[in-house]
Symmetry: C2
Subunit: 220 residues, 2 copies
């Protein structure tokens, strides 16, 4: 995952800057400038997400995003080459977030932690998340969800708590069922025009479903 | 469901025509003309589906559809007011098909029959099906899937074979899990760039999953 590498590199650069600041206050200036640039970057991303969620990706222009983020068109282009470039970063941001959460949960809790984060990240921007998902699927290119699918399959095979369920379903099937449960719950809220205010509404069901698949050993 | 009514009315009209044909061969002419009109209608629908599947809905023009169906632009408009009108019929056609199948399966088999038909209808046009689904969800209007969701919830409550599972999950949750399982399996094939040749590949898993949810009484 080159995105993770990019992130690590960014973090390293930031740390260098911090160390410089501490060693010599006179050299603080470039750091302040870079921090300002980072804030602008975040502001553009945030305003884009708000607009995409409200209007739909195809109905938002670079002009609207720039205006909302209070930057010029040329500043926008110094951060992102295009709307597609911006969308790629939004999608990568979410996927890195989800993998970071999965790494923190260990053993039996890895799949739960990944799904919890995916759910929590979807709630503030449900329509945008679905549109990004669909664009990934329909573009027929490598989708970020292919990474999540591969990760889940591997986890399910190594985690002993799925052993009994694996006698009935393959790890590929279980990965599709778990990710599908998540999509099913989100889509159901959307088609019934329910509001996305409390992430627990769907998170509780997903966690219950994961346990249901893990705990078959106790039933048989 | 007014679409079902429309269908019934159409069937009745067709029967009237047939009866007329039998009674008086001289009156067969309007029936032949109406049959020809129906064939044109079907040809436009079919060619539109093929083009939408291949190119994506947004990349297909009325001119392309008319050319593929070998009809003039004005003939197209005598059948459909717009591309949206055509999409509505494609979506209604699938949903009527799915409900017809569910009505044929009875009791414990209703949910299975509905999901089997949904799966079989998706295979020839998987990308189009997903795009229609997403458009329905993102338009925030009444989606055909809201009808399927309501139908499944009602079936799950009346079908005794879910009784034990209903102690753990609500009928609303189970409807989302079953529809989600279907979407999950279709999306998984797409993101892994697998071909949609044999509908059994996903149908077997969905049927196994439905039985898994129904058969908890035997495990406990």
């Amino acid at each position: 995952m080159s995105d993770k590498k990019d992130k690590k590199e960014k973090e390293l650069k930031e740390r260098e800057h911090k160390e410089k600041d501490q060693k010599n206050p006179a050299e603080a200036e470039p750091s302040r400038r870079s921090r300002k640039k980072q804030n602008t970057h975040k502001a553009i991303l945030h305003q884009a997400k708000v607009l995409f969620e409200k209007e739909g990706i195809g109905n938002v222009t670079i002009e609207q995003i720039s205006e909302s983020a209070d930057v010029s068109r040329s500043t926008f282009f110094s951060h992102f080459a295009s709307v597609d470039d911006l969308l790629k970063e939004i999608s990568n941001e979410e996927i890195n977030d989800v993998f970071d959460a999965a790494e923190k949960g260990d053993g039996k809790l890895t799949v739960s932690a990944l799904l919890k984060q995916l759910n929590d990240d979807t709630y503030p921007y449900p329509y945008l998340s679905c549109e990004v998902l669909m664009r990934g699927i329909l573009s027929k290119g490598e989708s970020n969800f292919a990474q999540v699918d591969r990760f889940l399959r591997k986890e399910i095979v190594t985690d002993k708590s799925y052993a009994n369920t694996l006698e009935e379903f393959s790890s590929k099937e279980l990965s599709a069922l778990i990710l599908g449960a998540f999509f099913g719950l989100i889509f159901q809220k959307m088609i019934n025009d329910e509001s996305f205010t409390n992430p627990d509404e769907t998170s509780v069901t997903i966690q219950k479903f994961i346990k249901y698949l893990q705990n078959q050993e106790e039933l048989s």
